[in-house]
Subunit: 210 residues, 2 copies
DNA sequence: GATGTTTGCCAACGTTTGTTGACATGCACC
DNA sequence: GGTGCATGTCAACAAACGTTGGCAAACATC
């Protein structure tokens, strides 16, 4: 239900928080920050399981144990809430130091952990099917994070967008089947088997030829 | 709720009026069949572009040029309408006669034409992200049509579900990126290039080893 | 303790949604 | 011509939605 503080600080840094012991300009943890965080946590869960339109502000507020009007006060409107809930960074690590034949497997492995630890990604995928804002954000992540990574990896700026598109099609497609559609055999696949099957595919899309 | 099986053929072709003088046995096409068809056509379009919740009965009725209450009379309720609009058969051809190394490419090619000619598939994919009925239908298609085909192809009933899941992840993922997310490089890919990239992947999932 | 700000709840709004039933018009058949 | 079904329109319903403004309590600051 609740995100641990550790998962939150990496991607969704709460800027108002600072540790009073170390920081010299102490700004005490205001109460509103707590409810803001609980709203955000509830919103992520609802958006992830219900999608954008079916996740109602009233339900999110009920999950967070507060009044719906508070959501409006803190996040303006529903779109603002979603934007805050789905804001995150893929934090793609630098794979160029790895031995070339291993990049495919590492990529699959990294994205798997990412998908399983961050509800925002599932929320974004579900919402992107119907919500324009989520769609735009998904495109933005593709352009600004995935494509540059692939370009740095394969060294060919011309084919990089296509390669990034192919990799996304496989990784997003697998996430779709495993987390959204929940096709039984895909859900049942153990992690190492996924890497063994998908690794070579991603490897070829990233560095290989048609 | 009820729908005549005759009007919902595989290609949902519009049957025209037939002249009563020549025609002896078949029943005349009643007016209601025309409006039913126009409702279904409008519904497919709306569901495909807007998803389940955002596609309103009122909008569909307006597109079809009739009153919203008629939709209820002919299809019971919104779920019934969606079920009728998304009902279809993949009509997977028999690929086992093909030379083994070509099955991957043919499969990609076949599914591409299917996706581009039938709005129902896009409607189903978009709706499956949020609607339980669409999700169940997607799972059913996977179990009853995709998995048996893969099983007949690879001859191994044990690994068939996993292989079918992998193939679905790639094909659905590509459809997601091309038709729903519309990632620019994926949209821009010409058909033969898609086959060249995806063909070997599907081939390995269907017949190869990890 | 008075004051102003924060934090929260409550009631209500205006709109949109799926859905219903009453009523009008066309068409077929005795 | 009149009866009966088929086809379609209109008005309205109840529920749910996002959203708003007012008001009560908690808190901080002097």
């Amino acid at each position: 239900m609740h995100h641990s503080a550790a998962t939150l600080e990496c991607q969704h840094a709460l800027t108002y928080y600072n540790s009073p012991m170390i920081d010299d300009s102490p700004q005490k943890t205001r109460r509103c920050d707590l409810t803001r965080a609980s709203i955000l946590s509830a919103a992520r869960e609802r958006f992830a399981t219900d999608g954008y339109e079916r996740a109602t502000i009233r339900a999110i507020a009920a999950d967070a144990g507060i009044d719906p009007s508070l959501v409006m006060r803190y996040y303006g409107n529903k779109e603002g809430l979603f934007a805050a809930a789905a804001e995150f960074d893929l934090c793609i690590p630098d794979l160029s130091a790895l031995p070339r034949p291993e990049v495919g497997a590492s990529m699959v492995d990294y994205f798997l952990t990412r998908w399983e630890n961050d509800e925002s990604l599932q929320a974004l995928l579900r919402a992107a099917a119907t919500n324009a804002g989520a769609l735009e954000q998904m495109r933005s992540i593709f352009t600004r994070q995935v494509t540059p990574m692939v370009a740095a990896l394969c060294g060919d700026p011309e084919s990089a967008p296509t390669r990034a598109g192919l990799i996304s099609s496989q990784l997003l497609g697998f996430a779709l089947c495993r987390y959204v559609l929940q096709l039984p055999p895909v859900v049942a696949m153990p992690r190492d088997e996924i890497v063994k099957w998908l690794g070579p595919t991603v490897q070829r899309y990233a560095l290989g030829t048609k």
